[in-house]
């Protein structure tokens, strides 16, 4: 039966192809002149160059974090190219002028770039290597005052907003990888939902790494003003290389009074092969600030890819009565390693947070949940509920849970529940004795395990995420 389980979890990666396209790549290495050159290529204002250089100088004083429960050889930061962009023939006026090779790439990945062919109600910003290729439905969104564009465009079109909010949630020197990102980030998405506006469609960014020796450092900034709400989706894939690529993104969310932001991720970066060769190092800082009263930030993530995942989408609950949520499914297979979780920092009164984390480990992988619940002295009436469940498939993988709880207010209520279960021979035999084959059994058990999280995903995404888990875990029974 272990051979059956083995077959179930040995599914090939479907997005591993490389697009043959001419790219503008900055030579490998990192120093101030590289940063100046990136900034110059993007024709950035002086204040942004200063932001980068300050971050870089701070980064030089920092050391890589070693506390995550993952192991990998030292990264040579001088052996990475910090900028790679598909070379456009000229400035694009419409989708029809996008390189057809790029269009084909995203078609193959199932990303709708033509508005008429797009999924109803989803606007997409497409990031290829480090650069935004196109953003759909801009006009329709602009009609209601929603700004949705690439980060570079926002720097030029809405500098006052970028200056106000960039680094306001994740400061440039926040941690090693956030500092690196702040120094070299190349593009990303910017969303701004003005006062009282409920964004009329889902906003989505699709990230694709194509170049072998470049890192990807994008930055996402979402601001929802008073009473505004938005649902934002993020998807990621990368080709199959036998070297590791570094992905160090920063995502900042700001919710003002009564605003609500729902941020969903389906992460399927290339995970390396069954022997752990290649794959993305996904070292990402995501944090949301519930700045206003009655505001709400909800993170939902389905992490299936990357050789190493190191990310903790967090909420700082500053406004009174604000709400933070974290729903996560992290699947690791083969030699993948994940150290992921969240931080809920309660500062305002009556702030509430919910954490539901489901880790699935298969193969020889290592899956850790790490989470911090912090209740500050000012957070009267704060409440948290955490549930961390781990599932093991086979007997060569491992799962760990590292919950940290710091409470400085006596009136706070903090609950933590955790379970570990295993899909093993006996469970599959039980299903088999009722006529159900192992593939269907695993799929039913996994779906049951993740359903509390999947119900949080927008419909289209839930379908995609379900399919993705299926691809990763199902297959022909040998």
């Amino acid at each position: 039966m272990s051979a059956v389980l083995q077959n179930l979890i040995d599914q090939p990666y479907k997005h591993g192809f490389v697009t043959d396209i001419e790219s503008d790549v900055v030579p490998k290495g990192l120093n101030e002149s590289v940063i100046r050159s990136i900034s110059a290529r993007k024709n950035e204002p002086e204040w942004l160059l200063e932001f980068r250089l300050t971050a870089y100088r701070h980064w030089l004083t920092m050391t890589e974090p070693t506390w995550p429960n993952v192991t990998y050889p030292p990264i040579d930061f001088q052996d990475i190219s910090y900028y790679s962009a598909p070379k456009p023939k000229k400035k694009l006026a419409s989708m029809d002028e996008v390189d057809p090779e790029l269009l084909r790439t995203f078609e193959k990945l199932g990303v709708p770039m033509h508005e008429q062919a797009a999924l109803a109600g989803v606007a997409v910003d497409v990031i290829f290597d480090s650069v935004s290729v196109t953003t759909t439905y801009k006009k329709k969104l602009a009609d209601v005052g929603v700004i949705f564009c690439s980060f570079s465009e926002a720097v030029h079109e809405h500098p006052e907003l970028i200056r106000k909010y960039l680094g306001s949630v994740v400061p440039a020197g926040d941690n090693f990888y956030a500092a690196l990102n702040s120094a070299v980030f190349t593009d990303g998405s910017f969303c701004f939902i003005p006062k009282g506006v409920k964004c009329p469609m889902e906003l989505s960014t699709y990230f694709r790494i194509n170049t072998q020796e470049s890192g990807q450092f994008e930055r996402t900034l979402i601001v929802a003003e008073e009473g505004a709400s938005v649902s934002y989706l993020e998807g990621c894939t990368a080709p199959q290389f036998d070297t590791n690529q570094l992905h160090a993104a920063v995502v900042e969310l700001v919710a003002l009074d009564r605003a609500s932001i729902k941020y969903s991720t389906v992460q399927n970066w290339y995970a390396g092969d069954e022997n752990g060769v290649g794959g993305i190092y996904n070292f990402v800082t995501k944090r949301g600030l519930c700045q206003g009263v009655d505001s709400k930030i909800s993170w939902t993530q389905v992490e299936t890819g990357s050789a190493i995942t190191w990310k903790y989408p967090s909420c700082v609950l500053l406004g009174d009565n604000s709400v933070g949520e974290f729903y996560s499914v992290a699947l690791t297979n083969h030699l993948q390693q994940a150290d992921t979780g969240t931080k809920m920092v309660h500062i305002g009164k009556n702030t509430r947070s919910t954490i539901i984390s489901k880790g699935i480990s298969a193969g020889r992988s290592n899956n850790s949940y790490r989470g911090l619940v912090k209740i500050a002295a000012s957070a009267h009436g704060a409440r948290n509920f955490s549930q961390c469940d781990s599932m093991l498939i086979g007997d060569r993988c491992s799962a760990s849970t590292f919950p940290y709880i710091q409470v400085q207010n006596n009136g706070a209520k903090v609950e933590h529940e955790a379970t570990t279960s295993k899909i093993g021979e006996d469970q599959l035999f039980y299903f088999a004795s009722r006529g159900i084959d192992p593939e269907e059994a695993v799929s039913m058990i996994i779906n049951g395990f993740v359903k509390d999280v999947f119900t949080q995903l927008p419909m289209e995404f839930a379908v995609e995420a379900g399919r993705l888990l299926g691809l990763k875990l199902e297959g022909s029974v040998g």
Partner: protein, 257 residues
């Protein structure tokens, strides 16, 4: 002992099997005809449970010799799920818990897979709900069972009723009930036995695997076999069970030696 006239459903010839390299079954001969009820009794560790699991196709056990014909097919050549679809049923001594999977969902998938395979129409969730509620009554089970996760947090008795519920849904030709009476109080035992008896028909057969005689007061066997040391060492009628209850198993070993 009653007269045997039904068609042969199960024919086991000289079956031997190991688990983790240890020989547990050492040459079993066993025949079951349609319409019959058999009881396999024996002391702990005699190989009773192993025998059921080997027939159901548990992957941890390796068949090292012998043949098994089930309803005209070579049973040992079929994967476990195909054995179930072909009409072989095992009621587990320790049913597995499956957190997060609703019992109704699991039962419906099993029903549609097994019965669908036999030409019965597949049922959608609403149709299945109607169908399964009738079966629940048979076992005096609360419909709330359907919404709970499969066997998760069930008491011993609830788990056993859930097993017999599955038997009622899958209408097996041959059912092995492994220690179905263990963990049952007297009321639950009566309900489960009533359920099993109502599923008896001239075209199917039941094998009760049990340590104690008390279940046999409710489900009366045509044949009683004694297993010891991986072999069936004695066969008799229902009165053999009473004798075992009175005298224990030791005398059988001496007699067989």
């Amino acid at each position: 002992m009653s007269e045997s006239t039904g068609k042969v459903l199960l024919d086991v010839r000289n079956l031997s099997a190991t688990v983790a390299g240890v020989q547990i079954l050492k040459g079993i001969d066993f025949t079951v005809r349609a319409g019959e009820v058999h009881a396999i009794m024996g002391p702990n560790g005699s190989g009773k449970s192993t025998f059921s699991k080997v027939l159901a196709g548990h992957p941890s056990y390796e068949v090292t010799g012998g043949e098994v014909e089930f309803d005209g097919q070579d049973l040992l050549a079929l994967p476990a799920e195909v054995r179930a679809r072909a009409g072989f049923f095992l009621s587990f001594q320790y049913p597995v818990e499956v957190p997060g999977v609703a019992n109704s969902q699991f039962l419906r998938l099993a029903y549609n897979t097994v019965m669908g395979g036999r030409g019965r129409e597949e049922l959608d969730p609403l149709e299945f709900d109607d169908y399964v509620r009738e079966k629940l009554q048979l076992l005096e089970m609360d419909p709330a069972f359907l919404e709970r996760s499969v066997n998760t947090g069930f008491s011993g008795g609830e788990k056993k009723r859930n097993e017999i519920l599955q038997m009622a849904l899958l209408e097996p030709t041959l059912a092995f009930l492994d220690e179905t009476d263990s963990g049952l109080d007297i009321d639950a035992l009566r309900i489960v036995a009533h359920g099993v008896n109502s599923l008896r028909a001239s075209g199917n057969a039941i094998v009760l695997v049990t340590h104690y005689q008390r279940l046999l007061n409710y489900i009366v066997p045509d044949f009683v076999h004694v297993m010891d040391g991986g072999r069936l060492v004695k066969t008799g009628g229902k009165e053999l069970a009473l004798e075992l209850e009175a005298r224990g198993y030791d005398w059988i070993g001496r007699e067989a030696a």
